[in-house]
Point group: C2
């Protein structure tokens, strides 16, 4: 499904250039569940932003379902992403003036889903993450972990082809973290979604089928997870 070949991303010029990614080559099959791990500053979020079409590489190629993503205009990227990719950001990013339910429904209204199907999918996703009772609250009225789970519900509700989750359990206790992993697992079994999750938690990494290790902008390891 996903082919990255020698993907690079740098910021700045000359001596001050920051090479966030230096030639990343990676293939991800449809339906795979991959954990992306590595030290702070190693390039994980940068790679996720490129996968999620929020950013373009400065070098290399990115093909999704056989289509060259670097050839799309910004508008085409946004449309493609809206239909097929879901993203959980490292910093949560809920819209503060919408309730939890409205936040979860928003991407689906952009995708032009019928109102009742949208509501049903939204409530089911909130339920799965244990936060359905907070559907009418605003982001400022929730705890950090509750807001994070609403952001995750928003990502899984439309049943995307590709789910990109940047540290989805960062602000969660063990119990809520397990709820999240179970929700991903369930989505994976029901829809065959491809999942890439960034995590610092070895326990979370073990839930994936494969671990890609990043360091200093390069892939330094790519191993299946044995003995799950």
């Amino acid at each position: 499904l996903i082919e990255l070949r020698e993907v690079s991303r740098s910021y700045g010029e000359g001596e001050a250039t920051v090479h966030a990614l230096r030639g990343v080559t990676l293939s991800i099959k449809s339906g795979e569940m991959v954990a992306l791990m590595g030290p702070s500053g190693s390039g994980k979020s940068t790679l996720m932003n490129i996968l999620g079409l929020f950013d373009r590489p400065t070098g290399g190629a990115y093909t999704f379902g056989g289509q060259d993503m670097t050839r799309l205009s910004a508008r085409q990227q946004a449309s493609f992403r809206g239909r097929r990719i879901a993203f959980v950001f490292q910093g949560i990013h809920l819209l503060p003036r919408l309730t939890a339910l409205a936040n979860v429904e928003l991407p689906m209204s952009y995708a032009r889903m019928a109102a009742n199907t949208r509501r049903e999918s939204a409530l089911k996703a909130l339920e799965l993450l244990g936060v359905a009772h907070l559907k009418d609250r605003y982001p400022s009225q929730m705890s950090g972990g509750q807001a994070q789970r609403v952001a995750i519900a928003r990502a899984i509700a439309p049943g995307p082809d590709l789910l990109l989750a940047d540290e989805p359990t960062g602000a969660l206790d063990r119990k809520s973290g397990e709820l999240v992993l179970q929700a991903f697992q369930e989505l994976h079994e029901e829809t065959g979604v491809t999942i890439v999750l960034v995590t610092h938690d070895a326990f979370v990494g073990q839930h994936a089928a494969r671990i890609v290790a990043l360091e200093d902008g390069q892939v330094i390891g790519d191993q299946p997870v044995t003995d799950r």
Copy 2:
């Protein structure tokens, strides 16, 4: 140093009332290092906001150094906090239009520290957290973990009396997380600062001298950490 007696905090009224804290009684001695742990939604951030004078309890008493905190006006609270308390928020909260260095120096300029002492303390704190090389970058130009460490440097630089850290290692890999704990330890040894940190990480909890467990707005456990 800190006395909380039957502290309660609720939101809303009537049937919809949310009891975020239900009668928390807790004493913290000067120089203690306490870990506050508990499930998502159990009231940790609410308790931290009250300790940090960002919020008032709806019931109960809060005394700091013998002084009744609930009797202070909003302006007095802000002034007291500025001089004596430092806070690391669950969501980082750096000012996006200031560089890392400027962000770290800001609380010290409010406290009217001399410019050279301020700069020196800021650079030392950034160094301790392994992010001194990022001092001229803006928050949007840093990784999540790097931004979190700048927020921590900002909290420790002025040498506060009370350091409140809400999930300071949430977005960090093991190595950066250890840097943070070492920085707290070092500050604790040098200045005898009182530290309360919220964490979901048992490993981080073990670095404290005592663990207070919160559940559903109440203290359900309060134990010294044996065998460190």
